[in-house]
Each structure stands twice: as C-alpha cells, then as structure tokens.
Symmetry: C2
Subunit: 408 residues, 2 copies
DNA sequence: TGGATCTCGGTAAGCGCTTACCGGCCGATC
DNA sequence: GATCGGCCGGTAAGCGCTTACCGAGATCCA
C-alpha cells in the first residue's frame, strides 16, 4: 500500500484499500490510513520522511521509470508529450533523485573530497594574543572557496574533512572519505608518500603545494620566482644588507622552495643571510613572534629585513617587533608570503608575495575533474605564477607604490 | 571473468580461462589477460580503477558477503575464526566499502550539507582597501569548523555549498544538495521561509541564526543579553551619552535582535541613540567605512560611541575613522560583535560581544544529528550565551581589563 | 507496398552494499 | 534421547537509480 514501494504494480485499485494484501508483511504497526473515497491518494505522506521515488513519478506520469530517468537526464530524445507528463509529475511530487542511488548506478558521485590539515593548538610564549591560531584557517579556507567555485560549475560538491597531526584515526578517515567521493584534493602535508600512493589507487588525487609523485598530480605556485623577486627588491631596491628567512615547517615543499630561492638570490646579490634552526616559525603567528622574542632575549642582532614563510608568521613578527618598540620598516623590514586578505589590514601594511589562492583551489578542482573524467588524463603538475606586492612593511611608501599598480 | 563482478559464482575454475563464456558480452576490447597457471589470480587489477567489492572479499575469505558485512559493521557476533578470515581478506585487498552503496542500502549517508551565503562582490567607496571582502568568510568558516569537529565525532562528513544572492540556480543547487545528505545546516539568509519549509520536508534542517519555523530548528546566540551588556558598559561604565548602532542586513534576525536590544538598553539608561537608515553597514567592512565617510562628508556629528552589528563592519569603521585622524576610543569609541580572531589584532584591539562561534556550529550539528536519528527528536530551538569582551576600542585600558579576565 | 531503418517506450539487469529470513548445528533441558 | 532454543552462516531481497537491450510502431525508399 505504500505508494513508495517499487514492486507494487498497478494492482492496487485507486481508492480501494485491500487489507488482506498487507498481511503478508509482518505487523509494522503502520497507522493504515484507510481513507475510502479519496479519488486520488496524493503521494505526500505527512509524517513519514520517505521521499517520492522514481517509481512514484513513473506511476503518476503513466510511463516507465526508464522514461522518467531519460527525461530528467536528457538522454535519447523523449517525445514532447512524454517529457511534459514526466515533468508535470516531477513537480507535482516534488521529486528529486536520491544522490546515493544515482551515484551507485551512474558510478559517479559528483562529489570531491578535500582534506585540510587542522593546525595544532598552540600556546604562545607570552600566553596572550595567539592563544588560538584560527587566523591560519584563512589560507585553507580561501583555497576551499576556490575549489568550490570551480566545482559548482560542474555540479560537483565538496566533502571536506580536516585532520590533526596525531594521526590516530586520520588515515581511516581519509580513506573512507575517499570512498564517498570521485576524487580527492589534499592540502599540503596531510599524508605521507606511502599512504598517498595507496590512496591514489583508490581515487584520483590532486595535492596542493605538495610533493609530486608518480600517481598524483600536484598544483602549486611558483615559489621560486616570487621569493627571488622579493629578495631582489629588498636587497637591490632598498639596499638591505643583512636578511633572514623565517621558515615554515621543515617538511613543507613550499617552505623549502621559498627558503632556497630566497637564500640563493640574497647571496647572489652579495648580501648576508642570517640562517640557522632558530629561524623557524612553522607558519604560525605565535611561531614568528617566538623567534623574535628569543632573538631579543638572547641579545642577538636582528637582520635589517625578514622574509617570512607566510603572512601568518609575518603577522607574529610584526606583533613582536612592535611590542618591543622596534620600528617597521624603519629598523627592521618585514615581508610575508601569500597575500591573505588581512595582510593589507596590518599596520604597516604587509609587503608580501601574492599567490593566487582561490585560483590555486579552482585549478586543483579542474585538474581533478579531468582526472575523474578520462582515464588517461594529463598527469602534468601545474604551477601558478606569483608576484611581489609592495606595501609598507618593506620600506616602500604607503598607498601602494606605482609598481604594484602597474603589475595589476 | 572480471573478478569484481558479483553474479559470477564459483564456476570459473581457478587458472582456467573460458573464452566462450565472455562472448555473450559485446566486444569491449578487453585485453583478456589470460595467464594460465596462476594459482591465485590476485584481485588487484593494475590499470583498471575498479575497486574490490564485498564479493571479492567474501570470495577471498571463503565466506558469504553477509558475513563480510557483519564483521565490518559489528552486527551479530561472528565467530572469531570468521572474523579473522574476513579481516585478513579485507586488508589483503585493501577493501573499503563504497559510500554510495552503503548509503543506499543503509538509508544513511553519513553526510550533512552546509550552505553558506557567499558575500556579493563589493566595491569600496574609495575603490581601494576593501576590494574583496574575503575577510567576512572568517565567520562562516569558523562555524563550519565547529560543525566539522562535531561531525567527526559521529563519523559524518560535511558537504559544503555556497550560494550567491542572485538566486538564479541557487534553489536547484540547494535542493539537490539536500538529496546528497542526511540533513542540512543553513547559515543565515540562504533561503526564504517558503522554500525553507519545502526543503524541510525533504530532510531535517537546522538553521543558524535564522528565523524559527515550525519545521526547522534554529541555533543562535543570545544577541539580546550580549548587546544589552555592551550598551550598559558604554553608557554606565564609560559615560558615553550619544551612541549609534551600525546595522547589518535588515532581514537578518541577528541584526534585528541586536539593534533592538542595544536601542532599548541605551534608552533605558537615558542616553541618546542616533538612528536612521544611514546607519547600515550590511555586515561588511566596506559598508561600515561607507557610513562613516558619508557622515563626515555631510558634516554630521558623530556619536561618542558606535556599536557595530559585527566585527567585520567595525573593522571598516575603525579604518575610516583612522583615515580621518579621528582617535579611537578618544574621540569615538567603537565596538563589534562576534569576536572573530582578528578582532584582537586590530589597533586598537576591538571591544566586542563574543559569541561562541565554533560551538554554534558544533551545536548545530548535534541538533541535526539528533533530528536525523530519531523521528520524534526535540524540535526546540537552541540559544547559546554571549558575553562582552572589553578591549581597547571602547575606552578600556589595553592589555585586557580585569573584568575581561575575570569573566574568562 | 514491403521491407529496411529509425524512433522511442518498456523491461529488466545491474550498481555494491545491508539485513530479514531460513536452516543447520549445537548444547541445554526434561 | 528427543526437543527446544540459541548461535551463526548463507541466501536473497531489496535500497533507488541508469541503461543495455528489445520490440512495436512510424517513416522511408525502392
């Protein structure tokens, strides 16, 4: 009697309840809404959350489920009359096909998974300002936005998951996520190469700012050019002679590339690079602040300019320097990397290397989508351009220098 | 011959290819990897992306698919030996069940949809600083983080989607999203009440900071208390006599509640409230800045204190005031609402009403999860507490006043 | 006008799981 | 020692779609 059950043919006469036929089933304590005389038992069941299925549509439209499916998916070329009847039934019932059933049948879920790394809880050296590092979310979230915008164009959705670094349950979660979608986009450092390879056998995988592997495709930005441009600017245009690079995670490919590019350009230009394990901020504001605090506590001389692995840690550096009354850029110039939106809200406005954050995400999706579609898709890594954004913190005049405008 | 195809029983003798049986199928140009003599045709097909299915596991383990399923889902109580053989086969094949198939069969997708409203592109009055409003994402993203953290505890994933306000394709997208998940969490103002009701018939729906409806559950925070506390603080503690509330969207329930609470408290305390349509920033930094610019351009007197509908617009107010050399809090005090992470990075640090952003998200998920589980779940709206965070921009001493610490 | 061809609905076989039901085996019970 | 449950595996029926295949009718051309 349930209008939602497929196997029931036309046998159930409209308006005639046949109690006997229901006996075959075990007593499910169904309210048995017997309403004789109802000419058309409308298929909306108030309490029951059961949705109309394609069978309901077919019955109401007086066609087969195949026709319904064909109309809805634009296959073949249904007769106008058929199409009309189906569409009418669809809108009458408010039918929307179930995602899982479509996915199972069509072997396409129209979902891509995104895994980001959740930053660990950080306690700042002074226990004050950086008690939570939620700001660092901005970068990942902007990338995700880019992914989503691109995904929408293809009617895909984003299934997001974040992992901590305890690694406890993470692997299981990522792998089961993989089976809920058609492909995966992994932010930097969420999985080691061995597991990555295993994962890539399950679904197509695109890494963001990761290490290229034979079975995955990487999308990143041109760290080297941007960083070299920044180094040249600091040394040649501003004439700074001692510089330092405040690094990110030592296992981050982005960080390594930036460090190498900065160092080699600084040295090529004959300036001095302060180096060593002390210069590591791990991409966090708290980390950047801590480096400065320790330098000052140890009475070590600061460099004339500090290039940070990202804007986030630059923010910490700016904060710490300001706390100690050190003028930026007067005494120490500071630069970041990324150009997150808040970089321009800092005082002084932060000079940084812009990478096209949203575009990074959008590109990652497009690449993944190609991978999902064809078996033999282009497996070439993608590198997006970066460019120096001159603001105040490097010593450039405020209000955006002419070069910055010209580059736009 | 495909080891992944369920219907093939044990008939295919190991190591014996039967070409004739494949003829029934149309020529699919299968490479026909005939390797006689292979004692155990290992089920890993190199090129083919086809994953092992539960049938493969059952065959390798020498049990039925029901047993495999029972072992993996911990149903009944399989004999230790059975369990062991299944688990061994699972790990040998690297089997992970397909999400769509599970969802279809178990009638549970373990996915909740989240819809956020993407802010429209905004052009700032001076065309410079606020060219993109990506900062405003922080609030939504923090909520999403909260949702995700709660979801992870239940092995659910988040399917995110954003909508613009053109409304063009939005409705279709939201409804089809609904059929890809077990329930939906909607941020403020993504759907009008009529459509909301229709959506709620499809899946359980929880709104965030929305309007309560009979068929959805709302999770929000206690705007009234927080705002009243702020008003009292500004008037009673600081003695400000003229104040203004810089509003958000006029159709935002949060905004309306905040406006009402602020106004009534200010008036109750006998101070003057500047009012009118001019005082609307629409939650954006650019909007907040524009209000100030217009006030100044029209030579209208500014109030002694401005409470903004959210931190975002407070940021714009601070920016505009600073641009004009107006001292904060010396000449005009400013306060926000939300306590987004960057509130404390502003100079001066922003006094604001904190709402537990992540907790809002986590609560929304928990409520939704309850709705998904039971049919007759608690349909009671939830209101989370807010509290005033005193920082510098209201006139309190820097370094967080004693009250703020005590309240923690 | 008769067959070849084309068009378009319907039938039914999956997609890869979960689970109701059945039945064989076992120890416990009388 | 026959009976009765309890335990546990297997069988098979779905879950709600898509689509290969078939066949009836319409169309076409000789």
């Amino acid at each position: 009697m349930n209008p939602t059950s497929p196997p029931v043919p036309e046998s159930a006469l409209p308006g005639l309840a046949v109690p006997g036929s229901a006996v075959a089933e075990p007593a499910v304590s169904e309210p048995a809404l017997i309403e004789p005389g109802l000419t058309e038992p409308v298929v909306t069941e108030p309490g029951v959350p059961g949705q109309p299925t394609i069978y309901d549509v077919a019955r109401v439209a007086g066609v087969s489920i195949a026709s319904v499916s064909r109309v809805l998916n634009g296959r073949r070329n249904p007769r106008p009359e058929t199409r009309e009847r189906v569409l009418e039934a669809v809108s009458e019932l408010g039918f929307i096909p179930d995602g899982a059933a479509r996915a199972l049948s069509a072997r396409l879920k129209e979902v891509v998974g995104v895994v980001i790394r959740r930053p660990p809880p950080v306690t700042a050296p002074d226990g004050s300002v950086f008690e939570d590092e939620e700001l660092s979310l901005q970068f990942s979230d902007l990338i995700n936005r880019g992914i989503e915008i691109a995904a929408q164009r293809r009617d895909f959705n984003l299934l997001v998951s974040s992992v901590g670094l305890d690694g406890h349950d993470e692997e299981r979660r990522i792998f089961s996520l993989a089976r809920k979608c058609d492909g995966l986009i992994l932010h930097d450092r969420v999985l080691d190469p061995a597991r990555l390879a295993r994962l890539a056998r399950l679904v197509p995988v695109v890494t963001l700012a990761g290490t290229p592997t034979p079975t995955t495709v990487n999308v990143g930005s041109d760290n080297a050019s941007g960083m070299a441009e920044l180094a040249r600017h600091l040394v040649r245009d501003h004439g700074y002679r001692t510089l330092a690079y405040l690094g990110g995670y030592s296992d981050s490919p982005d960080n390594l590339a930036r460090a190498a590019a900065f160092a080699s350009q600084v040295r090529a230009d004959g300036a001095t690079l302060l180096d060593g394990p002390a210069w590591r901020g791990n991409y966090f504001a708290a980390g950047g602040a801590r480096v400065i605090e320790r330098m000052l506590a140890a009475r070590q001389p600061l460099p004339r300019a500090i290039a940070c692995a990202n804007d986030q840690s630059a923010l910490g550096v700016v904060y710490a320097l300001t706390q100690h009354g050190i003028a930026i850029p007067g005494e120490v110039a500071v630069a970041g990397f990324d150009d997150i939106p808040m970089a321009r809200h800092l005082r002084p406005q932060l000079t940084t290397v812009r990478q096209p954050i949203q575009e990074l995400g959008a590109t990652a999706f497009d690449v993944l989508h190609a991978l999902i579609g064809e078996d033999r898709a282009d497996r070439a890594d993608v590198m997006l351009p970066t460019r120096l954004i001159r603001r105040e913190s490097c010593g450039c005049p405020s209000g955006a220098g002419p070069l910055a405008r010209a580059a736009g």
